[in-house]
Structures are given as C-alpha cells and as structure tokens.
C-alpha cells in the first residue's frame, strides 16, 4: 500500500519553474531515493512533501489523506502532516537537551509525561544514544547529532520519514559506516523513507528504488540495478557511474544493435531508444566494462597511452583516440605506447 503519493506536482519560485510535473509513490517499508544534480528540484520536492514549500499544482497524499491539492486549494500546514524530516544540517535546537529535542514532538501531541520518558528512552536506546540524553547538541559529534535528528523524527512514529542529504555532513570515512547503519535501521524498523541525495553511490547502496530528477522532471526511475545497468537516456547513463563518452555518427541500426562511427573508430553497441541511423550519436561505456586486449579484434580500438594513475586497488589508464580520451582500469602498470582496448557490444550504449 502506498504511504505517500505525489501526483503531477508543479512548483515555481517567482517565474522560475522548479518542479514541472513530478509524480511518485512510496510504498510501506520502502526506501526511495531522489537523486539528481544540484538544481534538479530534489530538495524542493522533499520540502513540498513536508509542507515547507507551496506548490501551485498537483496533489500530495499521505496514506489516504490528501495533504495538498492544487485544484481543491487544500494545503495542510507542515505541522498537520505528521511526517518526520531529518534536515541536512540536522537542525537540532541548541537550547534543548538531546532528551528535550526528541521529546518535543511527543509533548506537542499531548502525550503524558511518563510515556514521553519511556518512548524517548526507547528511541535513544534504538539509536545507541542511551547515555547522551542530558547533553546539549553542541556537545555531540557529527555522527551522534545525526542520530539525534533521526530519533527526533522517528519518535512519534510518522508513516513516512523524509531524509534530506542525511550523510553529507559526515566526513568521508564515517559516511560509509553511517550508510550501512542507516540502511540496517530502516530495514529493521520497517520504515518508509524518502531520501534526497546527490551522491549516486549513496543512492545505489541505500535504496529500494531510485528516482532520478533532471531539471524539475523525473528522468528515470527504477531499482538501483535497473538504473545502473539499463539507463534509458544519455543523462541517466552519464549520471550513474564513471563513464567513457564517444561522439560519432550512427551508421546502422539493426536488431537492437547500432554501429557508431567516429574519428578512428567503428564500434557495435546496444541501440538505445534515441539512436537513429544517419544521425549524430553518442556512445557510452562504463570504465569497468572496457578491457585491455592483447591485439586487434572485433570491437577493439587501437589507442595510445597518455598516462596512468595508481588508485590503490587498481590502476586507471588514460588513453588517447584522436581527440577523444578514454579511461580504463587495469591491474598492472602499462608500458608507454600503443595498446588495444576491447569494448563489449553489450557494454556500449549508443544514444
């Protein structure tokens, strides 16, 4: 059952359209990520769901309750929507202790003192904050603050929890641990979460489903695997993962495959929707799909080594193909000069 339904949402700042008809559903126990570059409208969408931005068209439903309807002029204010929101900055109230920060939502719901105490204590324990109740936010580390912010949003059992870039304020090392911890928590507590992120690897790791936003519209949505390995558009392919891009001309399209020709190369790949014979085309291949080959062959390229970078667990080699540059991983350093690269047909998407 859908806990949250957004239908055809439009939102404008002045004359500047931010959301141009976005629809999404969030089912119970599901984690959906809103992914996109900055300015794509993902945070605005989250804030509109929370009731902090006012759209001018469309509907938002939480469960079966309509909280926003542009046509019927319904707009339930933020405090009436009963959602949990974790801010990017955490927005912990500096004048309240950790306990009071978490208890505030319960007190606003007129819950008796003893029950407030019990529920806050439980929440603190669940998020391994047990001993920190009496501290003030500025006495906590970044990771602890993040967990307090989560506890504050979860303690009154909102049907949906909204997370705005929940990991971006943590340093890189902590972020990976927190990501695993957050995913585990969401699954364990069977939360329904809508999560904004600009980091594709975070979205892949955390979510059941990803919505990729581009310029106020949903570019593509699907499971992380679909988004990564079956992008329908050049934008999606380019946004997810590390890629090589080859510009050329599509000379032939046949049975789902396309031939891309350019300066010094002629490659077969899978034809995507937009590929048309005789038109300009772009080939896209993930770095990890290009293989070093020992000689010429089918769908292989002759390239010159420009430089190599050592990444720790592998090498990244940079090759020149005319004006174009290609990158590929390898497990050992290469000698300068000519090399061969193999581009598998199912790894190259032609748009």
């Amino acid at each position: 059952m859908a806990e949250l339904t957004v239908d055809n949402l439009h939102l404008t700042y002045g004359d500047n359209p931010i959301l141009k008809g976005v629809s999404l559903t969030l089912n119970r126990g599901e984690v959906v990520s809103l992914l996109g570059p900055s300015g794509s409208g993902k945070t605005t969408l989250l804030r509109a769901v929370a009731g902090l931005e006012t759209p001018h068209q469309g509907t938002i439903r939480v469960g079966d309750k309509v909280v926003f309807d542009g046509a019927a002029r319904t707009d339930v204010p933020a405090e009436g929507r009963n959602l949990g929101l974790v801010f990017q900055s955490y927005a912990l109230w500096p004048h309240k202790t950790v306990f009071d920060n978490i208890a505030y939502g319960l007190k606003l719901r007129n819950i008796a003192g003893s029950e407030v105490k019990e529920r806050v204590t439980t929440a603190l324990a669940q998020l391994s904050l047990g001993h920190l109740g009496d501290r003030f936010p500025h006495q906590l580390s970044g990771g602890q603050q993040q967990r307090v912010a989560l506890a504050r949003a979860l303690v009154y059992n909102p049907p949906v929890i909204l997370l705005d870039e929940p990991l971006s304020n943590l340093d890189a090392k902590l972020r990976e641990e927190a990501r695993a911890w957050l995913r585990e928590l969401i699954v364990r507590m069977q939360l329904s979460a809508l999560c904004v992120t600009h980091d594709q690897s975070e979205a892949l790791a955390m979510s059941d489903r990803i919505l990729l936003l581009n310029n106020g519209r949903i570019e593509q949505q699907g499971t992380p695997q679909q988004m990564y390995s079956d992008p329908v558009s050049l934008f999606t392919a380019d946004f997810m993962g590390s890629n090589n891009k080859l510009a050329g001309r599509v000379t032939e399209v046949r049975e789902g495959t396309a031939l891309l020709e350019g300066e010094g190369f002629k490659l077969w790949g899978t034809a995507r929707q937009s590929a048309k014979a005789g038109a300009e085309g772009t080939g896209m291949i993930r770095l990890e799909r290009i293989r070093l080959a020992d000689g010429p062959g089918d769908n292989r390229l002759e390239v010159g080594l420009t430089t190599s970078m050592y990444l720790g667990d592998k090498w990244e080699h940079l090759f020149a193909l005319g004006e174009a540059r290609l990158r590929a991983y390898g497990d050992k350093p290469l000698t300068p000069g000519k090399h061969w690269l193999e581009v598998p047909r199912d790894g190259l998407w032609v748009f």
């Binding site: 204010p77 933020a78 405090e79 801010f87 900055s89 505030y104 606003l108």
Partner: protein, 564 residues
C-alpha cells in the same frame, strides 16, 4: 499560477491585532499633524476652519526661510565633516594595527549614546565665552581662538558628534571587504593613508553614500544643539523655529506648528526612503565583493602616531571637552575669570536637585522608563518582529514601510503629535498625565531602531530550526514561543540594554509631553535650560550621563555589541 492560501495559520488573531495596533500608533499622530496643518486654529477650537492659511503664514515669515536655510547649511556642514572623518576612522580601526583598538571602539560610540542636549550644554560650560577651557586657555595664552555660537561652529560641532554614525556603516562595509586588494596596493608602493583614499574607501562608496544621506537627514532632525548653541546669536533651524513658534503669537499656534512639522517631514520622509534604497544597494555591493574572513592588518609604522593623534584630538573635542565641562560645572558654585577651582567646589547643586520633588520624580521616571519601559518596548518590538518573521505577504511589506514612518518624524514633532493624540481622543485623556504617554511616544519614535535590533536577532535563527519544529507538529505560535523566542533571548536582553540607553538619552520627544506626572530628565533639561537654571541643569545632566554610563558599563561588561 496563483499562490494558494493555506487552510490554517495564514492570518491569526494575535498577528492581526499586533499589526493593527502598530499601524494605529504610527499613523494616528502623523495623520493628526496633517489634519491640524490644514486648520485655521487648534483642533479643539470651535471656530476652526479648513484651509491653507497656516502654510501661507509660515511661508510669508522670513524667519521660516532663514531657519530652513540654516538647517541646510548645518546639515551640509555635518556631512562635510563627519563623512571623511568617519570613513578614515573606520579604515584605521578596521584595517590597521593601531594599538589599543579594543579600548578606542567603545569611546568612539560614546557621542551616539549621550544626549545631544547634555553635550550641547557641555560645550557651553566648557568652551563658551566663560567656559572652563576658554578661561584656562585665556589664562595660559592670553586668548581662546574659538567661538561656539556661530552657525558654522554649530555645524562643525554637530559634524564631530555625528562621526560615529558614519563610522558604524563604513566599518561594517570594510569588514565585508577582502583585505587582498589593500595588500596589492601596499606592495605596489602606496602608503597606508593612500591605500585608504585610493582603494578601500572607493570600494565602500555605496555605504559611504548611505552614511552621507543619513547624516544630512540627522542634520534636519537636530534640536538640542541648535537650541542651546544657536540661542545666544539667535540662529534658528527648522526644529527650533517650530519650538519658538509656541510663543510667537501668544496663543497656542498649533496650526502653524503643524504646518512647519509637515514641511520638515516633507524633507525627511524622502530622505528616509532614499536611505532604504541606498542601504539595500550597499548590501548588494557587499555580497558581490564579500570575501571576508581573511583579514590582515595593515602595519601603520610611524603613521601610527598621526592616526592616534587624529583620534585623540577628535575624542578630546567631541567627548572629553563637553563631558568634563558638565562634570566640573555640576560641582562648582560659579565659574569665570579669576575663579579658583579648589575654592568653588560644592555639592549643593545635587542637594537642590534632590530637594526638588519634581526633579526627583524626573530621575525616578527616567530610570523607570528605561528599565521597565524599555523592557515593555522590546516586548512590543518583538511582537511586531514575530508578526512579520518568515512571512512574505502583503502585511509584512506593509509593516516594513510602517516602521519607516516614525524614522522620518523627529522626536520633537512626534512628542507634539502624541500630545495632540492624547488631547484628541477623549478615552486617552486620563493617560495624558501619566508616564504611559511618554513611554508610548518613546516607543514609537524608536520603533525603527528597535525593529532593527530585533530583526538582526531573528535573522540569526536558522530557518531550519523553525522548520524542524513545524515538521514535528508545532504550529506557528508554538514555534515562535518554544523555539524562536528561547533562541533569541540573549539578543533580546542586549536589545533591552540598548533601548535603556536610548531611552535615558532621549530628550526632544518629551518636550511637549512634559507635565506634572510625566517628568523625565531629558525634557526637564530643555525646560530648565529655557529658565536659565544652569546649576540644576549641570547636576541633572551629570545624573543623566551617569545613568547612560551605567548602561554602557553593563553592556561592555557582558560584551553586548553596541551597534548592529
């Protein structure tokens, strides 16, 4: 594509009430002045008729034109003096390694916290024809090369006293300007003062332009200085012309006063709007060039002594001379050529102040209006602040402009207008002789100042803290009371302290509201000065300076920023 109205929380009763009361308190006096200016007699006179006779009368009066000209001359003089000095002072304080800056900064701001009436009186007793410094100079050198009663002297003194107004805005602008541009000029071979003149100051031009308009505008509001210093040679400015009108015809000439008041507002209101425009403009510039944070102090080298001498001279003339004058005069029986300081020392002036019930009440009322009144005023400003906080609707913009209105009405006029308001609305008449009438006028006159204090506190509360409370289920009222208010409490206490000092300092607003029951030191000083009671004026001025000094000491002790 119309914006939706929210189903709840759009208009609340407290908010509407706050805006309504504010509008009434601000607009009623102004409208009453306007109405009165088109009558032929006081509004309570049964024989009044509507017409433009009052304007015809004052426009035919050569004194009015002379006073207008004098106002322009003084205001221009003030800009010419205050602008370069204030800008230079800001540069030296913000950008160079001048020693003891931490101690100089509060001293610079002193003139803006001491009542101009007191300072003017201080100049008379210190540097007047038989003032302390004049006498000493004559005894030492055989003559004192200054006179303080000419029109240009008034302009120069007013200019020196308004240096802090320029300093505040110039230094704020310099703070937001990266120091790399100055270092580049130094490396290219420019001396510190050349850097100031050719690089830093041109870059903060928008802020300086704003400050120039502000000082010019304050020149039109000037009352205490020209009243005290202009009297001996009979120089009138618009405000003192208005004040003297009371006696001109022998009968209450409210319609004439109202006409002059409208003429003054006709000059000041456009200036206030211009200031608003320029300030927004200056802010825009500041954000474009805002690479603050990396501040390096410019080494002054031997220029240090030039800068220090300049500041010391200014402080001596603008602060030390008048204040020591007051302090000495309050403790001597008489003063003149041949008087020996040790022989004339006395405490009897204070004795006579404390023997006079009216003056004791004035001191008590002044303390009361600063502490309790100041707290209630801050509460009112806070309520208005919350009525517009994070709301971007028509009402907020209305309040924005509303708070500008009292800014354009000098205290003297505002006091007069409030007197009329209390006489005009019968239900208010019983309050006329209570300290409430004084408090209301003070609160409205300083509305714009108070709102600036409150909104700078509110601006420091991150939006997300309030949004977080909304999402966990708090409505607007609960957010204001339980989140925002506790977060700005330190700012409110600081505002209270600043409003206390401003209320202690205020004098012109009370001039017309002064009555048995509403005595305050500031207005009482004006009245006593007119009566020529120098000894009592000196003692009372001293008390006033002490009260402001206490506020200042507390503010400095707790690190309250004296400016925003």
């Amino acid at each position: 594509m119309t914006a939706l109205t929210r189903t709840s929380g759009f208009t609340s009763v407290p908010r509407g009430l706050t805006i309504l009361v504010t509008a009434a308190a601000v607009l009623a006096p102004l409208l009453l002045i306007l109405y009165q200016s088109f009558l032929s007699a006081p509004f309570f006179d049964a024989k009044k008729t509507i017409g433009i006779g009052a304007y015809q009368f004052i426009f035919a009066d050569p004194d009015f034109w002379q006073a207008s000209l004098n106002s322009v001359v003084i205001a221009t003089c003030m800009v010419i003096i205050a602008l370069p000095l204030g800008a230079l002072l800001a540069f030296v304080m913000e950008r160079t390694d001048l020693p003891a800056k931490r101690w100089i900064e509060p001293l610079i701001l002193v003139p803006s916290f001491v009542s101009p009436m007191v300072l003017a009186f201080g100049f008379v007793v210190a540097a007047g024809p038989v003032g302390f410094y004049t006498v000493w100079a004559t005894e030492l050198f055989g003559g004192a090369p200054w006179g303080i009663y000419s029109l240009t002297s008034i302009g120069v003194i007013a200019g020196l006293l308004h240096v802090p107004n320029v300093y505040v805005y110039a230094s704020a602008a310099l703070k937001s300007l990266g120091s790399d541009v100055e270092e580049a000029a130094r490396v290219a071979g420019a001396s510190p003062f050349r850097v100031a003149a050719t690089v830093s100051l041109p870059l903060i031009m928008p802020a300086l332009l704003f400050a120039a308009v502000l000082v010019f505008f304050l020149g039109f509001e000037l009352f205490g200085l020209p009243l005290v210093l202009g009297d001996p040679e009979g120089h009138l400015v618009l405000s003192t012309y208005l004040y003297k009108l009371t006696n001109k015809l022998g009968v209450p000439s409210y319609h004439l006063m109202a006409a002059v008041a409208i003429c003054i507002v006709a000059v000041t209101f456009p200036l206030v709007l211009l200031q608003r425009f320029l300030l927004q403009n200056a802010r825009k510039y500041a954000t474009i060039k805002g690479k603050a944070g990396r501040m390096r102090e410019l080494p002054l080298g031997q220029w240090k002594w030039v800068a220090a001498a300049l500041i010391a001279t200014w402080l001596f003339v603008g602060v030390i001379v008048p204040l020591t004058g007051i302090a000495l005069r309050a403790f001597v029986t008489n003063w003149g050529y041949g008087a020996k300081l040790a022989e004339v020392l006395t405490l009897e002036h204070f004795q006579s102040v404390f023997d006079e019930p009216i003056l004791v009440r004035a001191i008590w009322n002044t303390v009361l209006i600063g502490t309790v009144g100041g707290a209630i005023a801050v509460a009112c400003y806070c309520a208005i602040g919350f009525a517009t906080h994070r709301r971007n609707d028509g009402w907020s913009r209305f309040v924005d402009y509303l708070v500008l209105v009292p800014r354009a009405i000098p205290g003297l006029l505002a006091g007069l207008a409030f007197l009329w308001v209390f006489l005009f609305f019968p239900p208010l008449q019983p309050l006329r002789t209570t300290i409430f009438s004084m408090w209301l006028a003070y609160t409205v006159v300083w509305l714009a100042y108070g709102m600036r204090l409150i909104s700078s506190s509110l601006m420091q509360v991150s939006t997300e803290l309030e949004e977080a409370a909304r999402t966990v289920g708090a409505n607007r009222g609960q957010v204001s009371r339980q989140i925002t208010l506790p977060l700005i409490r330190h700012g409110l206490i600081a505002s209270w302290l600043l409003v206390f000092m401003i209320f202690e300092r205020e004098y012109s607003t009370g001039v017309y509201l002064l009555a048995p029951g509403t005595e305050v030191i500031g207005a009482q000083l004006v009245s006593l000065w007119q009566g020529g009671a120098i000894d009592v004026v000196a003692a009372l001025s001293f008390v006033n300076v002490v009260l402001v000094g206490i506020g200042l000491a507390i503010a400095l002790r707790f690190g309250v920023k004296l400016r925003d």
